[in-house]
């Protein structure tokens, strides 16, 4: 019998019941909850007279709607100016109180983006099944967990039963050989992979990221990579547990302690694919060939190296691709054949569950240190992923570096990644954004998003247009 993949092992360990119709009941160890996709689920429980199956598996935190300006934020829930946002955050508070679910409230120091908070708190652990009503739940797979986004009906299902009815996915190994070059990050790797396989390339698969370049990533980098799995069409991405994982989890507030820690670490030793495991599909990427990436269109697969030209639709042989490119370039206000570096950056957003962790902020700070934001850039905001990240960054003096360079230093939340709060793009504005989606209107009605790494976003803030971050290494002249 062939060996098992990491996904096979996680699946089998959580199998409650296999049914004759081919579906399976899978147990959920951790359910993360936020304010946008949960109100209707709690309402469903109330209407059916049901109660949560297991309270201690749930952890809630408001993140999508929270204001990131310090003045508005200081007022807590009551201080949220937008009444619909305020009601949604208040509803989460009320539901958690009514059902007895632990919540990290808006102005708690631990508050932040749910996918930053989970791993940081040790609420996400290796070997767990983790779900949340948010597609970027794939982030948690970086810890060797089976983690994926769900809809609101399934939020209700997990609350009521601690299980989900699932069909097993196929296995895809994404092997990244060699090392990423200096100035090239996990974000660039994720975008390059999506450029390679497309936004539907991972549909139907659980992706395992492997290979030398993946092993060399920090936990923060691994989370960035797994976060973007969904942008490649895969609900879940994961990485085997190694010393980097164990070192990251050790000492986290909700991580096991004492004897329990020793037991857990021993069990986690098996969280990797067997050497003879068989994958349904394998894709190999040469890390050394990846340059800093910039998206030019309205889908994450519309991406190019910063050194490239914007593609010319006329040169595309596939009709569907050509039509999509024409439509995207029209929306983006760009012309095929122009250099990527000719695209202006009207605003800069450094944040989101993809790139708001301490390492991301260090990467951006290293670029802007001793430099000044270009006058043509209307706004450059840095939004830490959590209160813990914010405190750590301030302890390292990163806030001063950003402020001295003319960037804004904000309170934690999802912010301009999806612009559910007041942070958004104006019509026609180009944004250098460290977030995950460049869809039409994503960051504001008519807004034009270009996905980049934190270093690339920081460099664009200084230059006023997209520029190769590798030209910014070293001290400013």
């Amino acid at each position: 019998m062939p060996g098992k993949t990491l996904y096979d092992k996680l699946w089998e360990a959580h199998l409650v019941e296999e049914r004759e119709d081919g579906s399976a009941l899978i147990y959920i160890d951790r359910h993360l909850i936020h304010e946008v996709t949960s109100p209707q689920a709690f309402e469903g429980l109330r209407l059916a007279g049901r109660t949560p199956w297991r309270l201690d598996a749930n952890l809630a935190v408001p993140d999508h709607n929270v204001p990131t300006g310090s003045a508005e934020r200081a007022g807590g829930v009551a201080g949220i100016i937008d009444s619909t946002s305020r009601l949604q955050v208040q509803t989460l508070d009320d539901n958690c109180e009514q059902f007895g679910i632990e919540e990290i409230p808006i102005n708690d120091r631990r508050q932040g983006i749910v996918h930053v908070v989970g791993p940081e708190m040790g609420a996400t652990l290796p070997g767990m099944t983790v779900v949340c009503g948010d597609s970027h739940t794939s982030t948690h797979g970086a810890l060797g967990a089976l983690a994926h986004g769900i809809g609101t009906s399934e939020v209700e299902h997990v609350l009521a039963t601690q299980c989900l009815v699932q069909q097993k996915m196929k296995n895809l190994r994404m092997r990244v050989d060699g090392r990423l070059a200096l100035g090239v990050t996990a974000k660039d790797l994720a975008l390059a992979i999506i450029g390679e396989i497309g936004t539907a390339g991972g549909t139907g698969f659980a992706i395992e990221f492997a290979g030398e370049a993946v092993e060399a990533l920090s936990m923060e980098g691994r989370m960035t990579l797994c976060n973007m799995s969904i942008e490649a069409g895969a609900r879940m991405g994961m990485i085997a547990v190694d010393d980097v994982t164990i070192d990251y989890v050790r000492g986290r507030p909700m991580a096991p302690k004492g004897d329990q820690w020793e037991l857990a670490v021993a069990a986690w030793g098996d969280l990797h694919s067997d050497a003879d495991a068989v994958f349904d599909h394998e894709v190999c990427i040469d890390a050394a060939s990846v340059a800093p990436q910039v998206t030019w269109g309205t889908s994450p697969e519309m991406v190019a190296a910063v050194t490239d030209l914007i593609p010319d639709p006329a040169a595309m042989s596939n009709t569907g691709q050509r039509e999509a490119a024409v439509r995207a370039l029209s929306y983006m206000g760009l012309s095929g054949g122009a250099p990527i570096t000719s695209i202006p950056a009207d605003r800069v957003f450094i944040g989101s569950c993809t790139n708001s962790r301490i390492e991301d902020l260090r990467e951006a700070a290293a670029i802007v240190r001793g430099r000044k934001k270009a006058d043509s850039v209307k706004q450059a905001m840095v939004v830490p992923g959590s209160g813990e990240v914010k405190a750590q960054a301030e302890a390292e003096g990163l806030d001063r570096i950003f402020l001295d360079a003319g960037l804004e230093w904000r309170e934690p939340g999802c912010s301009m990644c999806l612009a559910m709060n007041a942070d958004k793009l104006g019509k026609g504005e180009h944004c250098a954004s460290t977030s995950n989606r460049n869809f039409e209107g994503r960051q504001g009605f008519g807004g034009r998003t270009h996905l980049v790494s934190p270093g690339m976003a920081a460099a664009a803030a200084i230059a006023g247009h997209f520029v190769d971050v590798r030209d910014f290494q070293g001290e400013p002249s």
């Binding site: 199956w53 909700m254 302690k257």
Partner: protein, 217 residues
Amino acid sequence: MKALRVHEGLVAPMDRANVDTDLIIPKQFLKSIKRSGFGPNLFDELRYLDEGQPGQDCSNRPLNPDFPLNFPRYQGASVLLARENFGCGSSREHAPWALEDYGFRCVIAPSFADIFYNNCFKNGVLPVALPAAQVDELFEALYANEGYRITVDLEQQEVLLADGRRWSFPVDDYRRQCLLEGLDDIGVTLKSGAAIRAYEDKLRGRSPWLFSSEAGA
């Protein structure tokens, strides 16, 4: 959930690939704490010329005359014909809620994003995946024939064309059964309550740190 066995209806086109859930229902409408009322904001940024706001009366907003769903010939459509990777991006269930609230009971496309596909079944909307060549043929027929209608039979897992041809489509048994009968699938899972308890007992023995009372001090 509304059951669906056989659905016959007018077809409307959404003729572009990679339609994401942000496009299906933009984020400002996700601030609602209700499950209904999203229909007027389906494809909001394509359908109207202005920027939509939650809670607004959409009846006086300027319509985009170039967007097919605004064409007289597609009024009353209940089957949406789409291209590959329909529903990619965010897991927001507001996307199928908006489709359903607008009046769509079925979406036909060459492929769907995984989370969206699953969310549809929870809300009485049937996603039908057909080979790309068949979808191409449907688009041609749709554009050539005003009032083009189609029948989708979930029980037989077939799309019935006006000329009598039948094309089969895949659906896994569990989802099919839930939609055919309009089942409350939480109720179905709770019938396995004893198995879930038994699993938890084993889990507590094997991985006690997963239970907060036993995570160690």
